[in-house]
């Protein structure tokens, strides 16, 4: 009798999107409510791990063709670049600023450069978690 994973795979296709949306929600609300780059990154990588559980490693590599080590490097670069960007305005390293610009369609929003640093944290967490899990999963 052939064993199949139809129920797990179908549910994964729906649930992975819910988890990814929740991770983006956690990332954006991190400034005023609990959440932020770390939890958001862990949540996004948990969605990827769920897909790895339901399908096999090769399929996921075809669907999401990212090199996670490059994602770690990109995240670190963004985090350092936000710190170095403060030198342009003649202020100490990692000085962040914020503003309340009026965006079309969204109205007045509160934007902070700290969220760019958080984006770096997010990418590093996703990259490190996925690198650890993929290297352990691939070793025989």
């Amino acid at each position: 009798m052939k064993v199949n994973d139809l129920i797990l795979q179908t549910v994964t296709k729906v649930v992975a999107f819910i988890i990814l949306i929740f991770s983006i929600y956690l990332f954006w609300t991190g400034h005023y409510t609990p959440g932020g780059g770390f939890v958001g990154g862990l949540m996004a990588s948990s969605a990827l791990v769920l897909m790895l559980l339901a399908f096999d490693v090769k399929t996921i590599k075809n669907v999401i063709p990212f090199d996670y080590k490059m994602i770690i490097a990109t995240g670190l670069f963004i985090a350092v670049a936000t710190g170095l960007g403060s030198f342009v305005f003649d202020v100490p390293f990692l000085t962040h600023t914020f503003g309340h610009p009026h965006l079309p369609g969204l109205g007045e929003v509160s934007l902070a450069t700290a969220s760019l640093f958080d984006l770096g944290v997010y990418l590093v967490v996703v990259g490190v978690t996925m690198t650890i899990i993929q290297t352990i999963g691939e070793s025989e």
């Binding site: 009798m1 064993v3 129920i7 797990l8 549910v11 729906v14 649930v15 819910i18 929740f22």
Partner: protein, 130 residues
């Protein structure tokens, strides 16, 4: 109006807590893995959904905002918890965890035997065709 919603929320939360209690009693009292999984995945799911709905109603009545996270949590538990129960039961079945001794019917076993007989027959037929 607010008071009525609050009482409704309280009733929902008490019902959910009772269902969770029934779940634990079921897990302790029932005889084998499959009946326990039946108790755990059904009544616990409904219990948690009742508690979350109660919390949603309470914050709607008390603070006047509807928490999107609670709605998402209700949907998420409703989707994933039965699937988790299904996967645990299936893993138990395929690792030959025995059924309760008073079980009268095992459809999956009959199907397995039928398909294994079929594969043997096709294997025997294969040389004849070629």
């Amino acid at each position: 109006m607010t008071e009525i919603v609050k009482y409704g929320a309280a009733i929902l939360i008490i019902l959910g807590a009772l269902l969770s209690l029934i779940t634990t009693i079921g897990i302790i009292r029932l005889p084998d893995t499959y009946t326990r999984s039946h108790a755990a995945s059904k009544s616990a799911t409904l219990g948690i959904m009742f508690i979350l709905t109660g919390a949603l109603l309470f914050f709607w009545a008390e603070k006047g905002y509807i928490s999107a996270r609670l709605v998402l949590g209700i949907v998420f538990v409703f989707i994933t918890s039965p699937v988790a129960g299904h996967l645990i039961s299936r893993a138990a079945y395929y690792t030959n965890v025995p059924l309760w001794e008073k079980t009268v019917q095992d459809d999956l076993k009959m199907k397995k035997e039928a398909s294994s007989v079929q594969t043997v027959e096709t294997k025997q037929k294969m040389p004849q065709h070629s």
